[in-house]
């Protein structure tokens, strides 16, 4: 082990990190994002990846470099140097990992919680009843729509879903809005979703409501195809549901 | 061979530590049910609880614990007669306590049978405690029978110490369960 090893590993780490960052910052691995909130969640995801890359490449560099450079063919004849610890390395490591931890704790940890809090506005309240194995929706001033397979929502509307369950625990998940809340019997859990553009399940499978908590036989198929449409079309649909 | 096993190791200290850990572990089990009681019913409490009977059996159980303590003190001095007498007293009082719980159960089964929320926490908590009482009583009975056969003396009575400690623990748990169910 010579200083040269440290320099070489450092260079490799820098190169790998640069490659890794270039990849994670540009890679589009995300599903369709339906609103501002979803894009923010993806940004947070991307940020966490960007912070994870140097950590990942650091560990991998040290692992692989040591594996290649310090390996012995067969049983080592002699021992390695008797280094028990290294004050600078230990405190440096401790400081960096603590710093990174505090960073992600504050952002996107606490800031994410704040954004969640600030997203709580509604122009429309929809009651959601989960049951084995269907979703039931009640729009304001309307009677309940039972066993909904196709749901329409108006564009550019802040909606609050009041979610509960009639039997077991389910979970109300809108993948394209990155929003999810459990449907728990005896409780009403609210989530806030601000719709934006028109989009439909036909265009992307993540424009759906999916039950995300194991609830028995019908769990995987406990989904609703969603279509976000302009307000007039939505109103017409709702009236039509009421009539039918 | 056994020489290596226990060189420099005090088997009484080893057993004692294990028992303390077991008691701590049992405490965790009770704490889960006590937590459930507060989580589910908050400060609510039904009118029908027979608090008088509750106090009465609490006093009975405490006396049982005192007797168990005196029994242990007696055997530590080598006084087998007193040891047997107090052990028997602890057993009788412990049984009396269980009878009292039985009476409570009969009333409770009328006032708030299990599908009732308070019935759920009441029967599960007292039932869990009673099952530990039964275990403790069997253990006391065991050391009483062994004592009558001439086992245990001033030097060697770990069995007694262990059982009595467990008995104190079961009593202590009641001192938490009782206010939890009756007073809060």
């Amino acid at each position: 082990m010579k200083p040269r090893d440290a320099y070489a590993a450092f260079v490799i780490w820098v190169v790998l990190t640069a490659l890794g960052e270039a990849f994670v910052l540009r890679a589009n691995i995300y599903p369709l994002a339906g609103n501002e909130f979803a894009r923010d969640v993806d940004d947070a995801f991307r940020l966490l990846m960007a912070l994870a890359v140097p950590v990942f490449t650091f560990v991998v560099t040290v692992l692989v470099y040591s594996l290649l450079r310090f390996r012995r063919n067969g049983e080592p004849a002699e021992d390695g140097p008797p280094i028990h610890s290294h004050r600078g390395a230990v405190w440096g490591w401790f400081a960096v990992t603590s710093g990174l931890t505090l960073l992600v704790m504050v952002h996107p940890g606490f800031t994410g919680l704040l954004e969640l809090r600030e997203s709580r506005h509604q122009e429309m309240v929809v009651a959601v009843q989960a049951a084995q194995w269907s979703w039931n929706f009640t729009f304001p001033g309307r009677s309940e729509l039972e066993k909904v397979k196709d749901l329409k929502l108006p564009t550019d509307t802040k909606i609050r879903f009041d979610v509960t369950s009639r039997d077991v625990v389910h979970s109300f998940w809108l993948p394209m809005y990155r929003m999810k809340i459990d449907a728990v019997p005896g409780r009403v859990n609210s989530v806030y979703v601000a719709t934006e553009e028109a989009v439909s399940y036909g265009e992307n499978v993540n424009v759906r409501v999916q039950c995300a908590e194991l609830c028995g036989t019908g769990h995987p198929r406990m989904q609703v195809r969603v279509e976000v449409v302009e307000r007039p079309e939505f109103d017409a649909w709702l009236a039509e549901q009421e009539a039918g | 061979m056994a020489a290596i096993t226990h060189t420099g190791h005090d088997s009484r200290a080893i057993n004692s530590m294990g028992l303390w850990l077991f008691i701590a572990s049992e405490f965790a089990l009770f704490s889960a049910f006590i937590f459930a009681r507060y989580y589910l019913t908050g400060r609510d409490q039904p009118e029908e609880l027979n608090i008088g009977l509750g106090y009465a059996i609490t006093v009975v159980l405490l006396s049982s614990s005192v007797c168990a303590y005196l029994a242990e003190q007696a055997i530590a001095r080598g006084d087998r007669r007193r040891f047997l007498r107090f052990t028997l007293a602890a057993i009788v009082l412990g049984t009396l306590f269980l009878v009292g719980v039985g009476l409570e159960w009969r009333e409770a089964a009328h006032s708030f049978p299990p599908p009732d929320l308070y019935g759920t926490v009441f029967f599960s908590l007292t039932g869990l405690h009673a099952s530990h009482m039964v275990t403790g009583l069997l253990a006391l009975l065991f050391i009483w029978v062994q004592g009558r056969r001439g086992r245990f003396d001033a030097e060697a009575h770990w069995g007694v110490t262990g059982v009595v400690r467990y008995w104190h623990f079961v009593d202590l748990v009641w001192l938490i369960v009782f206010p939890t169910l009756y007073l809060v």
Binding site: P31, V41, P82, S98, F110, A212 | M1, T5, H9, A32
Partner: protein, 620 residues
């Protein structure tokens, strides 16, 4: 009183203890079931209702089984002042007996739980077949839920018990220079208490299966098919076993360390087992409580989790995760500690920053008690609860980082000997790195809301529990194989197995991160067909991974039967288990060991870890 003074019933038939146990178990079950049915009949209820009768019969059956298999002969007779009449057997028969030798018990655990591992692995293959397409392939949704649930709980039990039960039992007493565990008979009891668990799990098949996953959330787990009852009983039973085992480890490590072996000189694997026992002996009671409440709701009409009756399903989740989060460390940390142990010996360099690593393990132990609700971020917690649990959960990254510091600091500049145990140990570090970093996405509410209950989570916990726990298990198997069997395994086939498993594992689970992020929720028989391509990759990886274990099995069986003899210390490692013969004698050492130095003083000329009384120093 010493367990070893117990004697010989030499002419007993090999399977005598097990058969007697089955017989008394059956008698006990009949008594319990009959008693329950009788009480029900008196109370005017339907006498032979499946649930209550099975429940009542089980506890008596379990007691009968334990008495028959060995508790009566070795324990109860002594209590009752009757002559105790048996001895430990020497041949292979001792593996089928209530043997108190911790080394035998370790092997019993290893073989039993490896068997369960392969069984649950086969179930995983079936699940991957089902996932070859988005639609239905092999199973109806209800059959799939059963296979998935059975896979989950079996693997959880393996992860909880294989490393601690297997290598904790086998290696820890020798590593601390003890002749056995503190309570040898309790140790045997722990194993024979665990033995009915796989039987219960398999018996669920005849009770209609169960479909609530390993987490078995009520109300589903209160209303579903009766196999769930056996699941609850199995969980409680394994819980009792691991509580007894944990207490045994804590007392053993506290009280039976060889002279001179201070806590500051404890091998890191011993630290790992010790710290996790501190979690196990206390927190396991909470999962027992959760299972009991589920049974009380189901069988006795109580309403703990029944919202209509005033109960709350979230109560279960709180109690369950109060155990089950610490439990994920019980599954992971022993494997990580084992990896550090192996890395140190195969780098021939002191474990870097030993005290910090130990501090890290202890800090994880402490913090794990206050993070449970991160499994419930979408359950409807208040803002203040979310804030608290984000904070505590993120904090765990810091002590976890210290484990990486120890591993990297040790290999850097070492003299690496890349034998199979070392390869597995390094893979533990790599896998756990991925598992740990992806955990941050789940620790953070903002990103977790979307990822919760998706394949992202599935990938994450397989990287931690399999990547660290199970890879650690295999590191241990190869590391201690010469010690346990007295024979050497084939290095070629072992390395082939390593690379096969490493590639197969990553090919299976890496794609699942993307699948979860892109809308595939977990525990589903079918999924949107857009996600088929990567599912096929994961499935092929899974089949490849599964096939690799044939290499492992062939190598282990052939090597055990006729591998070349191994020396006492083939790795020239310094800890105490390498100071005695391979395999070690009953009670481990010919004479009493004394520890005079740190276990990891590589590179210091003349440094010695331990000496055996009367023997020449054998440091290394």
């Amino acid at each position: 009183m010493a367990a070893t003074a117990l004697i010989a019933r030499t002419r007993d038939w090999a399977f005598g203890p097990i058969l007697r146990g089955l017989l008394t178990g059956l008698v006990g079950f009949s008594l319990g079931a009959g008693f329950t049915a009788g009480v029900r009949a008196l109370a005017g209820a339907d006498a032979i209702a499946f649930g209550p009768v099975i429940f009542g019969g089980y506890w008596f059956g379990l007691a009968g089984w334990l008495l028959g298999v060995g508790v009566w002969r070795t324990w109860a007779r002594e209590w009752l002042g009757m002559p105790v009449d048996w001895t430990m057997r020497n041949g292979w028969q001792r593996y089928f007996d209530f043997t108190t030798d911790h080394k035998v018990i370790g092997v019993q655990y290893l073989v039993t739980f490896l068997g369960m591992f392969f069984l649950a692995g086969l179930l995983a293959m079936l699940m991957r077949i089902e996932h070859l397409t988005g639609g239905q392939v092999l199973f109806s949704p209800s059959q799939y839920n059963y296979v998935m649930s059975l896979h989950g709980i079996t693997m959880i039990f393996v992860a909880v018990a294989a490393v601690i039960g297997g290598f904790g039992n086998y290696a820890v007493p020798i590593m601390i220079g003890a002749a056995d565990m503190a309570y040898p008979r309790l140790n045997a009891l722990s194993y024979w208490l665990a033995a009915p668990v796989p039987v219960l799990l398999l018996a669920t098949f005849f009770a209609g299966g169960f479909d609530a996953g390993w987490t078995s959330y009520p109300p589903l787990a209160v209303e579903n098919r009766d196999g769930q009852i056996l699941f609850n009983l199995a969980f409680i039973t394994l819980g009792l076993s691991s509580i007894a085992g944990s207490i045994n480890f804590i007392v053993t490590v506290t009280k039976l360390r060889a002279r001179g072996l201070s806590f500051g000189r404890l091998p890191i694997f011993v630290w790992g087992v010790f710290a996790m026992s501190l979690l196990g002996f206390f927190f396991t009671q909470y999962v027992a409580a959760a299972m009991m409440m589920t049974l009380l709701d189901r069988l006795f009409g109580m309403v703990f989790f029944d919202a209509a009756g005033g109960g709350d399903p979230l109560l279960y989740q709180h109690i369950f995760w109060f155990y089950s989060h610490p439990a994920v460390y019980i599954m992971g940390i022993p494997g990580l500690a084992l990896a550090l142990e192996v890395i140190t010996h195969f780098s021939r360099k002191p474990l870097f920053a030993y005290r910090w690593v130990v501090g890290g393990i202890l800090a994880i132990t402490a913090l794990s008690a206050v993070v449970w609700a991160h499994h419930m971020f979408t359950a409807g917690l208040s803002d203040i609860e979310l804030f608290f649990f984000v904070t505590t959960t993120e904090l765990i990254s810091i002590p976890t980082g210290l484990i990486f510091l120890g591993a990297l600091g040790t290999i850097w500049g070492g003299r690496l000997w890349l034998r199979t145990p070392m390869l597995f140990a390094l893979a533990v570090i790599f896998n756990f790195l991925i598992g740990g970093l992806t955990g941050i996405f789940l620790a953070d509410v903002f990103t977790d809301i979307h990822l919760q209950d998706t394949f992202f989570v599935v990938a994450h916990f397989h990287y931690t529990i399999v990547g660290a726990g199970i890879f650690g298990l295999f590191a241990g198997i190869y590391y201690w194989f010469p010690k346990i069997t007295g024979r050497s395994y084939s290095e070629f086939w072992a390395k082939l197995h390593f690379w096969w498993m490493f590639l197969g594992f990553n090919m299976t689970f890496l794609p699942m991160f993307w699948l979860g992020l892109n809308g595939m929720n977990r525990r589903v028989a079918s999924y949107p067909s857009d996600l088929e391509a990567l599912n096929v990759v994961a499935s092929l990886g899974g089949f490849f991974l599964g096939a690799g274990f044939l290499v492992f099995l062939a190598n282990i069986v052939v090597s055990w039967v006729r591998g070349p003899a191994a020396s006492a210390n083939p790795w020239r490692a310094r800890t105490l288990e390498w100071h005695t013969s391979s395999p070690p004698p009953v009670e481990n050492f010919e004479s009493e060991p004394e520890v005079v130095g740190h276990p990891y003083d590589y590179g210091t000329p003349g440094a010695v870890h331990a000496m055996l009384a009367g023997a020449e120093e054998e440091g290394g």
